[in-house]
Symmetry: C2
Subunit: 153 residues, 2 copies
Amino acid sequence: MYRIGELAALYDIKADTLRFYEKHGLLSPSSRSDSGYRLYNQDDSERLKFILRAKAVGFSLNDIADLLSIEVDKSNRACAEVKGLVDTKLEQVEAKLAELQHFATSLKSLSNTCCGGPDSAEHCSILEALESSDQHIIAKKEHHHFSHSGHKD
Amino acid sequence: MYRIGELAALYDIKADTLRFYEKHGLLSPSSRSDSGYRLYNQDDSERLKFILRAKAVGFSLNDIADLLSIEVDKSNRACAEVKGLVDTKLEQVEAKLAELQHFATSLKSLSNTCCGGPDSAEHCSILEALESSDQHIIAKKEHHHFSHSGHKD
DNA sequence: ATAAACCTTAGAGTTTAATCCAAGGTCAAG
DNA sequence: CTTGACCTTGGATTAAACTCTAAGGTTTAT
């Protein structure tokens, strides 16, 4: 059995984080000491490991709650459900990736056209591009056709 | 002169967004009507265009405040300052890009090893990978050596 | 003159994932 | 029996960029 600080140290996270996960239904200690201290057993520890791995591949805590609900009832759940969560997340990650790649391309163009010297920014090509939206420097955002949410406009 | 709703419609944003930008010092209307309505002129509109373009290349509103403070005092500011902001942002974007690419790689591996069928998830390879952290499926996060902040661990 | 569409304000809510705080209880060592 | 390290709780705070609400004032058209 681990107390909260011990389990936290084991995974290099804060005790606060464990309390946070508990509040959000991800991980509750299997028991409490007489004085009310949280006591985590090996299963709790495994569950935490699962959570941290899922985080490491990009799942949000909400996603992880869904994954855990399947994990604890595996035999009555379908592979397709699990794969669906992974594929949905992959789409989200790839959408974000595309946006950031667009940012990176634009920023590189901006950086390359600027002298970067100590002289006045009066004719700075970066500022001019932001004033005039030079097509050569700031790429236009593509409009994607997939409509299935994800946006907040 | 535009009223808030008119300017918002012009750039396909919400009036709320303009009030938000004002509260955060990015854009204030150059005047008010007798009854207190915000009135934006052409310069205000240009400034808004600048803000939206900067957003489109990945700058946060805080970054944009910095950019604007240089823009309005161009002749006393150096090109190097502007380029510095761009290069810093580029580094941040590339760091995030690396993280998301790592996520995408792992998620693709997970997806590829799973049958995705309607049968029980009891032996689902995705869940197994999250339970055991299969080295072949979940890539390990590299430890970058650049120390200049940016993380939240 | 009244309804619809627009505007005003302050302030609360959203999302994500913690992190921090205060006031107090517990436990082991000396 | 006291010190220090640990634990408890509820609630506030952070960052980012809005978005919404409530309660009310203004403008325009019929």
